[in-house]
């Protein structure tokens, strides 16, 4: 008689999935691009580790000083800071956060407990979570050195705090995914994220202007925010340091309750996934129109007519070919269906409103706002540079959203240079449009930049853009990574991130160095001319690189289709 398979223990199931992930990773290393991705990720990881370790020393030392001086309020604030970093930075820097999609595992007789454990443990694979845990440990060490008598209390409180952070993070992401599964909600949430992102960018300026008022508000509302989960570990350590063990225990218990509640909410979502919920994006069913049955089906009459030549069909004959125009049009459609990219268009308005509002509010100390003076001279190039960074973010992996459509580019009678040209033209048009909008809004708000500033900005823009396009095209073909629409936690190849990072520094460094030398030796008036000369050189380099993309695409065809069309 046939034997039934034995039920597998929880530990064994988890082990099997870890083994599966390891085998997937190891087998992935057979391809050159995956090896380069790992190499790039290691380089980025080292950089991030250095930053995290630096932060750990600062936090450990800070905790030591705070406990020595008994500034408990600041200890709680520090925990809030770690909480905000752990929870919200991954949301904003969504490209570096790994996702857990366990739907493929559901075909196996996997226990819910194993599925839940793996979903939760995935939070630990996030570099921001690892940094948060490390900072909790650093804080614990600092506190223990300052007050050895509370070291066990600190260890317990901070462990529960880290657990609460981990579960809150997983809960938040699981519910975000549920929310973002609907296009409309995703668009609204994206707007909120971007606004939040902008606020964080300018938190330094906010603190500079309204710092004292904010400090009073924080001190006055301490009773409220210290009772919330992120600060509870600090409150517990304060109680322990004051010898009130019962209060310390109760506070830690409350924190554990919060962690349990977050875990419960997370488990609720995981259970929905476990029972087969599919968050795949799908529109509401379209009501079918009543169509009269066809009496006779015949092949379309015009199919047999041969295709016309591409050049004759261009809407902008002599400027761009029909395929380039078609790809440009497709990019435009993909733009307004990709809320993340779409929001980058509205960023200028948000930025300018912020700039203008800050500039129009008089300084607390009286007199003109320093920001007002700033906005008159460097706000325009500053805002354009900022927007440039956001748009260029999409260039080094510009085939990411094509999916299986990538095959179409190889099947169609076009050279790959046309595909890249269309994409570059689209991104270039986007930057130019944004730079114009910023200029228009600044002028309308009464802070028009000087003519020389405008000329300098517009002369530098082609240089930066063309170099980014050239290298971005190369990276897109060399280290492609597939992105799904509506999925936030995606990242380009590690090598792409490293090279893009270096390129950004090189381009901005060149512009800054050349600018400084010109201003120092001759004067600001020389800058537009020098930048134009640089742009002309960049155009020559770009054309060379663009011509090379057709050959590169053919050489990379197998790995491109494997990466993007799978």
């Amino acid at each position: 008689m046939a034997e039934m398979s034995n039920s597998t223990s929880l530990g064994r199931q988890v082990l099997l999935v870890i083994l599966l992930r390891w085998q997937t990773f190891r087998n992935g290393l057979r391809s050159q691009s995956e090896k380069m991705h790992v190499l790039g990720s290691v380089a980025l990881g080292l950089f991030f580790t250095a930053l995290t370790l630096g932060g750990s020393f600062a936090i450990g030392f800070g905790a030591f000083e705070i406990v020595k001086l008994q500034r408990w309020l600041i200890l709680s604030l520090m925990l809030w800071g770690i909480f905000m970093f752990w929870q919200f930075v991954p949301v904003l820097a969504s490209q570096t956060n790994p996702g857990f999609d366990g739907r493929n595992l559901l075909r196996f007789p996997l226990r819910f407990s194993a599925f839940f454990l793996m979903s939760a443990a995935y939070g630990l694979a996030d570099p921001f979570a690892l940094a948060g845990i490390l900072w909790h440990i650093a804080m614990g060490i600092g506190i223990s050195i300052a007050r050895p008598d509370v070291k066990w209390w600190a260890a317990l409180a901070l462990t529960v705090s880290a657990l609460m952070n981990l579960l809150f993070n997983r809960m938040m992401f699981s519910w975000l995914e549920r929310l973002l599964a609907k296009r409309r909600t995703r668009e609204i949430v994206t707007v909120v994220f971007i606004l939040f992102f902008v606020c964080i960018q300018f938190s330094g300026l906010i603190l500079q202007r309204w710092g004292p008022a904010l400090r009073n508000a924080v001190e006055n509302s301490a009773g409220v925010w210290r009772a919330l989960p992120p600060a509870l570990a600090g409150t517990a350590i304060e109680h322990a340091a004051n010898g009130d063990s019962a209060a310390a225990l109760m506070t830690i218990g409350l924190l554990a309750l919060y962690a349990f509640a977050f875990g419960g909410l997370f488990a609720f979502r995981v259970h929905a996934q476990f029972t087969g919920e599919d968050l795949g994006e799908s529109a509401a069913p379209v009501r079918r129109k009543t169509v009269a049955p066809r009496a006779q089906v015949s092949a379309p009459a015009s199919i047999a007519a041969p295709a016309q030549s591409a050049s004759a069909a261009s809407p902008l004959s002599g400027l761009i070919s029909a395929p380039v125009a078609a790809i440009f049009g497709k990019e435009l459609k993909y733009l307004y269906r990709n809320s993340m990219l779409l929001m980058n268009i509205f960023m200028p308005l948000i930025l300018i409103v912020f700039f203008s509002m800050t500039a129009s509010v008089p300084s607390r100390h009286g007199g003109a706002s320093p920001f007002g003076r700033f906005s008159g001279s460097f706000a325009y190039p500053g805002a354009v540079a900022y927007l440039f960074l956001l748009v260029m973010n999409f260039c080094p992996n510009n085939l990411a959203y094509e999916g299986r459509g990538t095959e179409r580019f190889f099947l169609a009678p076009i050279k790959f240079r046309d595909v890249m040209l269309a994409k570059n033209l689209f991104h270039g048009a986007l930057i130019a449009l944004e730079a114009l909008v910023v200029l228009g809004v600044l002028t309308a708000m009464g802070h028009p930049p000087g003519l020389l500033i405008i000329l300098t900005t517009w002369a530098a823009l082609p240089f930066a853009a063309l170099i980014h396009f050239g290298v971005g095209n190369w990276l897109s073909l060399q280290y492609p990574r597939k992105f799904e629409f509506g999925v936030r936690r995606q990242r380009p190849s590690g090598m792409t991130m490293v090279i893009s990072f270096g390129l950004l520094f090189a381009v901005m460094g060149t512009l800054a160095a050349v600018g400084a030398i010109c201003v120092w030796l001759v004067g600001l008036w020389l800058l537009p001319i020098v930048y134009l000369a640089l742009s002309a050189g960049a155009l020559a380099v770009y054309r060379l690189m663009l011509e090379g993309t057709s050959h590169q695409a053919v050489a990379q065809r197998d790995s491109l289709l494997e990466q993007l069309s799978r």
């Binding site: 046939a2 034997e3 994006e281 799908s282 529109a283 379209v286 079918r288 129109k289 169509v291 089906v297 015949s298 092949a299 379309p300 009459a301 015009s302 199919i303 047999a304 007519a305 041969p306 295709a307 016309q308 030549s309 591409a310 050049s311 004759a312 069909a313 809407p315 029909a322 395929p323 125009a325 078609a326 790809i327 049009g329 497709k330 459609k333 993909y334 269906r337 990709n338 959203y401 094509e402 999916g403 299986r404 459509g405 990538t406 095959e407 179409r408 190889f410 099947l411 169609a412 009678p413 076009i414 050279k415 629409f485 053919v554 065809r557 197998d558 289709l561 069309s565």
Partner: protein, 272 residues
């Protein structure tokens, strides 16, 4: 003499140590409805991918309509249509947008692309879903859309990789009519399918590939005669006596000769 639409000579493709396609020689005349068969992993899709420019051959040459694919890729691609295995769709375009896009990629002017798009959507019974994103299409609808995209520019050769998989019977009938009309007008169709009944009904000529090598090629009658002759030598007839061999029987006989055997009922006895 009939003009050859597809000529492949010594076509090979290796992936590391694995030889997926091994010195394949194929000749398909213009206007032929050609079936390309083989068991799983035999090299069918790899061959089609090489013939349509999606994969570079390790060795050999491909000539389509008398021109080398390698040397005249753009010109050749202008004359061919393809429904690849992965369908090559852009998920975030609507059906209407996608067909217009493909038409423009093949150089059709805006008005012609729009007109053909409407005709094809109507023909494929997708007109009422023309403004739905492709991501929300069913598999069968995607297949029909991919087929519409493959013919929008009026290709002289059509490569179809499993075109009827997932398509309902009514739509499949419509598509078959369209493909027959195309061959009647002189187009060449190169089709792979695992559904041998469809191939038998549609195709006049067939090639069978196994383990990367062509093991049989010709008209159905030629293949029948070949199998019958081999059976006479072996003394075992693959079909019922006196009846015409079906393509399935031919296929099993030919592939079976190549060392692929049917498993016995005793194997995997632990299965209920």
């Amino acid at each position: 003499m009939t003009e050859s639409a597809i000529v492949a000579e010594g076509l090979s493709r290796s992936f590391g140590n694995l030889v997926a396609v091994d010195h394949v020689d194929l000749r398909v005349d213009a206007g032929q409805f050609f079936g390309f068969l083989g068991p799983n992993g035999a090299g069918k899709s790899t061959t089609i991918r090489m013939m349509t420019g999606l994969l570079a051959p390790t060795a050999g040459t491909i000539n389509l309509l008398g021109r080398s694919l390698e040397e005249n890729a753009i010109e050749v691609k202008r004359q061919i249509g393809v429904v690849p295995e992965g369908l090559a769709l852009f998920d975030r375009l609507t059906g209407n947008e996608y067909l217009n896009f493909v038409g423009r990629m093949y150089g059709l002017d805006r008005a012609t692309a729009a007109q053909r798009t409407n005709e094809l959507l109507e023909f494929m019974d997708l007109a009422d879903r023309s403004k739905t994103l492709i991501v929300d299409y069913s598999h069968g609808m995607k297949k029909k859309l991919a087929l519409a995209a493959a013919v929008i520019h009026g290709p002289r050769i059509l490569f179809l990789d499993e075109p009827f998989e997932g398509v309902d019977a009514v739509a499949a009938g419509t598509l078959k009519t369209m493909l027959h009309n195309m061959t009647a007008r002189g187009a060449t169709i190169f089709l792979t399918s695992h559904v041998l009944e469809i191939v038998e009904r549609l195709c006049s000529h067939v090639a069978i590939i196994n383990k990367g090598r062509i093991i049989a090629q010709g008209s159905l009658d030629e293949l029948r005669a070949g199998v019958a002759a081999a059976a006479n030598v072996d003394g075992a007839s693959p079909g019922a006596p006196g009846e015409k061999l079906t393509l399935e029987e031919i296929f099993l006989a030919v592939v079976g000769h190549e060392g692929v055997t049917r498993k016995s009922e005793d194997e995997l006895s632990w299965l209920k």
